[in-house]
């Protein structure tokens, strides 16, 4: 029993094709990865917006901004 198409290396290598696990489920694996990728962007956008909002709330007053500009480097 093997998750790959190979259960023994006593074979003619010229006959061997795929060697990865779960051959036949490529479409499912690809869609799982695509959904994870899209969810990452959704999370990142929310995180970035929240980080800016928090920073402006904490440090966005005129004095802090003016001092930051003076320290500008």
């Amino acid at each position: 029993m093997s998750t790959t198409p190979i259960s023994s290396w006593k074979v003619d290598l010229a006959e061997v094709t795929q060697i990865y696990p779960w051959v036949g489920s490529e479409v499912l694996m690809a869609w799982v990865a695509i959904i994870l990728w899209l969810l990452w962007h959704v999370w990142q956008l929310k995180h970035e917006n929240a980080a800016y909002d928090e920073e402006i709330a904490k440090h966005g007053d005129e004095m802090t901004v003016r001092n930051a500009v003076s320290d500008h480097e």
């Binding site: 290598l13 010229a14 061997v16 094709t17 795929q18 060697i19 990865y20 490529e26 479409v27 694996m29 690809a30 990865a33 695509i34 990728w37 962007h41 990142q44 956008l45 970035e48 980080a51 800016y52 928090e54 920073e55 402006i56 904490k58 440090h59 966005g60 802090t64 901004v65 930051a68 500009v69 500008h72 480097e73």
Partner: protein, 456 residues
């Protein structure tokens, strides 16, 4: 791999592309150093992460659809053939669930070839990254990185950097080392984003006079460019097919001589491209030093621009031609950079539009004249290299596939307020919060050490 010669050829080809991937990593290291050096201290870490995260994002999207686009679109589709022209089964094999997209013992080349093209994709996206530093939202930049890295560059490569691309067939388009398919499109993309994004605060005075926002660390910028030169060796070599016999080229070439070829399967040699790479680098550095009066940033950038200008024809040029073409492209891109900045108030923080976009465009046009009449392909019926085909090709690369899609996406993102960071954040600096937290952590440690010292 049923004979020793076939085995050696296959394993050599596999190793050859693998080495190019390792070398091309240095391009990305160089871009990160260069961008961080060019940004101001208060934006360093954000600048680094903005560039670094294009690596995973372009990689996964290149796996999902970028590589498939390359094999699916050489005919347009609808210009010289349908989807997957000339062999639809090739395109099907490169879908993310396709048979060539996983480890298998009967295909040792697809994976490394995929990776070499992926590293080109990173490069294209990274070129855009430098131009837009210190004011673009990360979300927005990563959308542009995916756009150029896994969509538009892949389309342009299918059209103009494929042995059967319609631009090669109909226009005689020749761009052996990617003046257009990587550099012009990346410069055009950067310009399309920049005109919507706008300049960094303080870049222009009230009367529109540009101010120099100097690199925080000019030394790091120059070493970054030096590393890009180094990685460029991998880029150049990856543009070739290392060993091809006439049989590989469908018997179009007679005799039995094996040769390296360009991506168009036209014969060349590693010696040719090595000499021309170095001579065009030299031409660019000499011209860059002269036109900028010894400025280090523009001298190093000039070296890059020299290579980029000559790249379209560096498989064929005489080294003296490569030298002069590199110098001409560098001189012109420098002048254009400042003219565009003054005239249109475009703030290209690292000169990426000039070094890559203008130099790449100019290089394509020059190749049309210098290589006029040379066969663009070993196949019968393809147009010869010619000035009009190269000029049209340059327009397609810079404006049609570079500027236009980026400008449209930038407009859409701007309409949702997702393109540019808030004004307060730009004034505070993108790393302000992190720097505050780091300073607080440092102070806390110092206080802890002081109290330990006092109690002992």
């Amino acid at each position: 791999m049923d004979t020793d010669v076939a085995a050696i050829t296959t394993v050599f080809t596999e190793f050859y592309y693998w080495i190019t991937v390792a070398l091309m990593f240095l391009i990305h290291v160089g871009f990160c150093m260069y961008e961080v050096g060019a940004s101001r201290h208060r934006n360093h870490m954000h600048t680094l992460m903005k560039n670094s995260m294009l690596i995973p994002l372009v990689t996964v999207t290149w796996f999902f659809f970028g590589w498939w686009i390359y094999w699916a679109f050489p005919g347009g589709p609808g210009i010289t053939g349908g989807l997957g022209h000339p062999d639809p089964s090739f395109a099907a094999a490169y879908t993310p669930w396709g048979e060539s997209m996983g480890p298998r013992l009967d295909d040792r080349i697809s994976g490394v070839f995929w990776a070499a093209f992926l590293l080109f994709a990173w490069t294209a996206a990274s070129i855009v990254s430098g131009a837009v530093i210190e004011r673009i939202r990360s979300f927005a930049f990563w959308i542009f990185a995916i756009l150029i890295g896994s969509v538009t560059w892949s389309i342009d490569a299918a059209w103009g950097w494929h042995f059967n691309g319609w631009m090669v067939q109909l226009l005689g388009y020749h761009d052996a080392y990617a003046s257009g398919v990587i550099h012009a499109i990346a410069g055009g993309t950067a310009l399309g984003v920049l005109v919507v994004l706008g300049p960094r605060l303080g870049k222009f005075s009230a009367d529109g006079t540009p101010r120099d926002i100097l690199p925080h660390n000019p030394w790091l910028v120059c070493i970054g460019l030096f590393l890009i030169y180094t990685g460029f060796w991998g880029f150049y070599v990856a543009c070739n097919v290392p060993v091809a016999g006439p049989g590989f080229i469908d018997g179009q070439i007679t005799g039995s001589t094996q040769t390296a070829t360009t991506i168009y399967l036209t014969p060349t040699t590693l010696s040719a491209i090595t000499m021309n790479f170095l001579m065009s680098l030299a031409g660019g550095m000499l011209a860059g030093y002269m036109v900028s009066k010894g400025d280090a940033f523009w001298t190093y950038s000039g070296g890059l621009a020299g290579i980029i200008t000559a790249s379209a024809g560096n498989d064929l040029y005489h080294p003296v031609q490569a030298l002069i073409i590199g110098g001409i492209g560098t001189y012109l891109m420098y002048k254009l950079h400042y003219w565009v900045e003054r005239t249109y108030k475009v703030d290209d923080a690292v000169g990426a539009v000039a070094v890559h976009g203008y130099a790449g465009f100019i290089g394509l046009v020059i190749a049309g004249f210098v290589l006029w009449g040379h066969p663009s392909s070993p196949y019968e019926g393809f147009a010869e290299i010619n000035p009009i085909g190269q000029f049209v090709g340059a327009i397609i690369m810079f404006w049609v596939l570079g500027f236009l899609p980026a400008w449209i996406i930038a407009k859409i993102l701007a309409s949702f307020d997702l393109l540019r960071i808030p004004r307060e954040i730009e004034l505070l600096g993108l790393d302000f919060q992190n720097n505050k937290e780091a300073e607080a952590a440092r102070q806390s440690v110092v206080e802890g050490m002081r109290s330990s010292s006092a109690s002992s």
